[in-house]
Symmetry: D2
Subunit: 362 residues, 4 copies
C-alpha cells in the first residue's frame, strides 16, 4: 500500500487503468481523420450496441458534467424542467451546467432519504405544473442517478415504475450513470436490463471514475432523441479533434468486461470497508452500501485520528453526528482498506474504551 | 514515410508527441487531488509565467473551441460583439460556440484578403455602433488569429496598432493562438513579445495541433479579466476531474522549448513544400506561407492525380481555380514532403507537357 | 356593485385607473422622439428621484416578469444564484424568466411559513456554496417580495437585517415590489424607508395591479448597478418605440400620491373582508392580512356556494383544509366586499348550523 | 400642419389612431380574466383567421423586436441560423434579440442593393454549411422584411421563389411584417396572398408604426410551428396580465380595414413626397419608393436648410452623397408633405441656382 492508498476522497483522484493506458498508446499510431472520423470512433457504435444489446447512438465526451448537461439540453426545451433528487450531482455540483446548456431550464429537486426518489413524489409536481399552465416551466425529463449520490441503488423495478409514470406524462427518462458500472456489478443484471429495458432513454455513462483518463459517453437508446446532440457537442467545445483518444478509452473500457470488473472490485472493497467500520464502536452507516461509496457517522476523535494519520476523505453533512464519505476505486486494494480499518479501530479504542469493551462483551 | 504521411489534411490528424505521451504516463502515478488541485496543475502557473515573462492566470482546457468561447464569454457581455476576420475559426468553424458561451453576443466579421484585418477597418464599425446606441450590440473585443486562418502572420506592429485602437475604444484584445507556436517560431520573437507586449490581454493557446493529445490553455495577462472564468469553465464541463492529465501535456509542451521546436519543424517543411509546389507549372500560392499551412491553386489534373495516389488534403475555395490546403505538422518529415512534390511534379508533366517544356525552355 | 365586482381572482383582472387613462390620452398628442427620447420619459427620472428622495435610474417596462428578470440578470452572472422565498413569483410564476434573462442563473428557494424568509436561513446556504467552490453556483443576490406572496409584509427591520447579511457576503438586494404600494400604505413609511434606506439596491416596482394598463419600473438606487440594463431591455424587446405611453402611466401613478391612495383603498377593503370572513364559523385565515390579499381556509360548502353564486377567486393550497385566495383592488368597493361576506355568511349557516350556533353562544 | 408634422424621422414617432384609442377605452370596462383569458383576446383568433382566410394561431405582443425574436427562436434551434438581408432590422437594430431569444443562433446577412435578397444567393450558403457539417451552424430559417428596410417590396413571385428554395432545403419562412400593411396596400393583393399563399409560415405583423399604441402580432399559418411559443412569450415577459388592452388594439386594427387604409394613406403621401423631391435639382432617390419610406441623396445645403427650418429626419448612409430617410405615417397629411417640399425647393434654389437653371433650360 502506497501513501496514496490512504486517499479515499473520491474515485476521481485515481489514475488510469493499465488497459486504458495501453489503448491510448495503441491509438497513438499514424494519422487518422479528426473529429471522430477515425476507425476507433467508428467501431465504438457497434461495440456499444453489443454491450447494450440494442442499436444505440453513442457520443463520447470527456467529462460527466458535459455528458449530463448535453444530454439534458437535448431532452428538454429552455422552458422545461428536469426532475431529480435534490442533492443530485446535476443539481448541486455542476455549477449550473444543465441550466447553461439547456438555455435556462429548471431543475426541480425532490428530497430523498437515501438518494432514490419515488414515483409517488411525481404526481404533485405534475399537478402543480399543469395548473400553472404557461406560468410555470413544464417538466420535460426525469434524471435518475445510478448508483445514487448516497451510494445506494435504484432497483430495476423502481426505475421501471418511475419510467412508467414519466411515459404517461410525456417526460423523457435520463440516467446519470457516472457509477453505472458499480450498479450493474452489484445488481448482477445486464447493461440492457439496467437501462433501456427499465425505461431509460438516454444514459450518461461514466468511465473516468472507474479507470479512464477522461472519458464518458452519452448513449441514446431511442436514436431519434439524439437530434441536435452532435451540434450541441461541437458548439460546447466537447468534440475533440483527436477524438480517437477518447473513443479508445471507451473501447478498452467495454472490452473484456473491464468496466464491470473494475466496478466489482471497488464494490467489494467498499463492502469490506463498510463491514469493518460498522463493527467499530460509535460508528453508524448513514446509507446502505450498495456501490463503492460509504457514508458513515464516526466519533469526532476517530475522524481526527484518521486525518492525523494521513487518511483522506470528505466530511459530509449527516444527521446525528460528524459524517464522512469514503470512496473505493478500481485501484484500491485490501491493504488500503485494512490500514484504514486498523487505524479507525485504534482510534475507536482510544476514544471510547469503555464503549468498545461493552460491545465486545455484548 | 508511412502511408499516413500522405495525409496533409490538417495538423489535427496527428498523434501525440513522444515527450507529451511520456508526461501523461508520468502523471499516471498514484492519487492526487482532482479538479486541478494536483501538483502538476499547481506548477503550471509558474511555468507559464516564466514562459511569458509576466504573471499570468492560466486555465488548461481540452479543445480550442472551448478555449476561444470561454475566453470571449469572459470578455464581452451578451449584448456585446467580437470583431474578427470574417473567415476566422470562431466565426465559421465552432458551430456558434462563442454565441453559446457568451449568451448570444455577436461576431462581427471583417473581410481580409489574407486573413489579417487592419486597424482602418475598425473605425466605421465603431461609428455605426455608436450611432445606433442601444439598438445595436456594442463591440467589446477584437479577436486576432495568429497564425491566421490563411497561414499568414500579423506582424507585431500590426497587432500593436490594432490593440492601440482597441484600447482607445475600450475593447479587449483576444488572440486565437491555435497555431501561436508556429507564429513565434517564424517571427523569432519571444512569447511575451508575441502577445502581451503587443497588447494582447487574453490568449487561447493551442497545443493539440502541435503535439498534444488534447490540451489548450487560456492565458490571462491581465489577471483581473479572469473573473468568472473558473466558474464558466466548470459550468461548461471543461474542468476535468483528472485535470493533471491536461496540465501534464502543457507542462511538457512548454518544457525545453518543445512547442517552438515542433512548430519550427512544421514551418520548415511547409516552406519546403511551398517552394517545391510554386516551382511547378500551373501552380500558384494563394497566400504567403508564413506558418505551417499552404494554400495553393493547382491544375485539376494535378489535384486528381494526387488524390488518386493517396494524398490527403482539403479542397479550399480560391479565386481563379481549384484551391487546396496542405498542412504540415510536428511529425511530418522530409520524405512526406518530397513524395508529395514528386507526385505533384509527375502529374504536372502529365497534365501539361507543353506548358512544362515551355517553362524549362524559358 | 357590478357583476364584475364579484371577481376577487386577482388585482390584475382590473381595468385602468381614471387618472392613468387620462395620462395616456394626454400623451397621445403630436409626434415625439421614440424609444424614450420623449419629454414624459425624460421627466420621469426627476419625479422618481423626488418620490424616493434620492438620485435613481429608472427604467419603465410593461410587465412584472420583465422587470424582475431584467433586474436580476443585471445583478447576477449566469453562474450565480438568487435567493428567494421558495414560492416567490420569480420562482414559480414566471416560466423561468430569471433563468432565461440571466443566461441560466439558479434560483435558490427557501421555505417560509408566511412568505418572509429570515436572515438565519442564509448562513447555511453561504457555507454550502463556499465549500463547493467552483462546483456550485455562488449566491449573487437576494430577492424579497414586498408585500409577500402570502399577503404579509417584511418589517423594515427585517429587510435591513437581511440586507446587512447580504452586504457582508457581497450579495445584491433586489425587491420584487409588484405590490410595494400596498406595503408602503400599510407600513406608513416613506418610499425611501421602504426601499433603499432598508438596504434595497434595485426595485421592481409594480403599477399594473394597482391601476396602470401595463406599466412597471425597475429602479436602481445604486446607479452604477444599472450598467447593461438599457441594452438588456432593448435586446429583450422591452424598450417600446412609443415609450411615452408607458412613462405616462408611471408619471400619473406617482402624481398626487395616486399609487399610495389606490393601495390604501385596496388594503382597507382587504381588512374589512378579512375581518368579516374570520368571524364566520369554520373559516380561518392562513396568513395575517397585511396588504390586499386574503388567504383563508373555508368549509367546502361555503366555497361551493360562493362559486355557485358567481364569486370568483383562486383555490389555493393550504394546510388543514380547502384554501382560497381573495384579492381586493384599487377599484373594489364596499358593496363588493359586503356582497361576498353576506353570501359567505349565508352558506356558513347552511353548511354548519350547529357550529354556527355554538359560536354565537360562545 | 402642426409643428409635429415636420417630423419625418420615423412612423414610430406618431401617436395612436383614433379608432385604436377608442378600442382601448372600450376595453377598459369591468373585470376580465387576465393573461389573455379575456373575450377580446379570445375573439382575435377568429378575426385573424377571417383576415388571412385560413386557420391561424395568433399571439399579440407589444414590440416588433419581441415579435421577431420570439418567432425566430421558435423556428430555429440554438445551433441554427437565420438568413436575412444584411441590413435587416433583426440583424442591425434589435441589439441581438434574435440571438438572445434563440439561445445563440446566428444571423447570416446577405447583401442586397435594395433590400431584397434573391434566391440565387442562397445556394452557396447551403453548400458551405453542408460541407462544414457539425462545425458550422446550419441554416434553419429565412426572414424576409416586407416592406423592406429600403422601402421597397418583394414581389409575391419573388417571395414564392425564395420560399420554394427554403422548402426544398428544409428551412422555415419568416416574414418581418413591421410594415406589411404598407406592402399589401401597395401590392393590391389580399393578406393571404401576401403571406402564406406565397410560402410564409410565420409572420411578425406590425401595428405600432401604423396606428397602434404598442401592438404587434406573431401569426403562425402552420399552427404546428407554434409549439413552445406561448411558453417563450411568458418567459420573456411578453404575456401581459391585462392582455385585453393589446388585443383590443389589434382588433381595431383589423376592423373595417383600418390597417390597410392607414397604410394606403401613408403610401400615398410617400409617393407625393418622393415625386416632389425627385423633381428638385441635385436630388436623387436611392431606392424605389414602394411603401412609406423615402431614401434620397440631397445636396448638403438642402439638408442643412431643412434641419434649420425644423424638419426632422435621419441621415442615412448612401453611396454618392449625403443620404436621408423620410417616413410618412397614418397621421401625416398633405400639408406636412407640401411644407417639406416647399422648404426643400427653396433651399434647392438657394444652393444651386446655376444647376437649377441648367436643369430648367435642359
Amino acid at each position: 500500500m502506497s501513501r496514496d492508498g490512504r486517499n479515499f476522497t473520491s474515485d476521481n483522484v485515481t489514475g488510469v487503468a493499465p488497459a486504458i493506458i495501453e489503448a491510448i498508446l495503441a491509438a497513438n499510431r499514424g494519422r487518422v481523420p479528426s473529429y471522430g472520423g477515425d476507425p476507433i470512433t467508428q467501431r465504438l457504435t457497434a461495440l456499444a450496441a453489443a454491450v447494450f444489446e440494442t442499436e444505440v447512438t453513442i457520443f463520447p465526451v470527456a467529462t460527466g458534467t458535459a455528458a449530463n448537461a448535453l444530454a439534458l439540453a437535448t431532452l428538454v426545451p429552455p422552458y422545461g424542467s428536469v426532475i431529480a433528487y435534490d442533492m443530485a450531482h446535476i443539481v448541486t455540483d455542476e455549477c449550473g451546467a444543465p441550466e447553461f446548456f439547456s438555455g435556462g431550464a429548471k431543475l426541480l429537486g425532490l428530497p430523498a432519504a437515501h438518494g432514490t426518489i419515488r414515483p409517488e413524489q411525481l404526481g404533485p409536481l405534475f399537478a402543480t405544473a399543469a395548473a400553472a399552465g404557461v406560468h410555470a416551466v413544464q417538466p420535460g425529463a426525469i434524471s435518475l442517478t445510478q448508483a445514487t449520490e448516497c451510494g445506494t441503488l435504484y432497483s430495476l423495478t423502481a426505475i421501471a415504475e418511475i419510467a412508467g409514470v414519466a411515459k404517461r406524462h410525456g417526460l423523457r427518462m435520463h440516467m446519470d450513470g457516472a457509477r453505472l458500472a458499480n450498479a450493474i456489478a452489484r445488481l448482477g443484471c445486464s447493461p440492457a436490463e439496467a437501462t433501456w429495458k427499465a425505461g431509460i432513454e438516454v444514459l450518461s455513462l461514466g468511465a473516468t471514475k472507474n479507470g479512464a483518463l477522461a472519458a464518458e459517453a452519452v448513449v441514446f437508446f431511442d436514436r431519434d432523441l439524439a437530434r441536435g446532440f452532435a451540434e450541441r457537442r461541437k458548439r460546447a467545445g466537447h468534440l475533440f479533434s483527436k477524438q480517437r483518444f477518447v473513443s479508445a478509452q471507451l473501447e478498452a473500457y467495454f472490452t473484456d468486461g473491464l468496466w464491470l470488473a473494475n466496478a466489482a472490485h471497488a464494490n467489494g472493497l467498499a463492502d469490506r470497508l463498510a463491514a469493518g467500520l460498522a463493527a467499530l464502536p460509535g460508528v453508524s452507516l448513514t446509507h446502505a452500501v450498495e456501490a463503492n461509496e460509504i457514508f458513515a457517522v464516526l466519533p469526532d476523535r476517530m475522524i481526527d485520528g484518521l486525518v492525523a494519520d494521513g487518511f483522506g476523505f470528505y466530511r459530509w453533512p449527516a444527521e446525528g453526528g460528524q459524517g464522512i464519505r469514503l470512496v473505493t476505486a478500481f485501484d484500491s486494494d485490501d491493504e488500503d482498506v485494512d490500514a484504514f480499518l486498523a487505524t479507525a479501530g485504534r482510534h475507536a479504542e482510544a476514544a471510547s474504551p469503555g464503549q468498545g469493551r461493552a460491545r465486545k462483551a455484548g
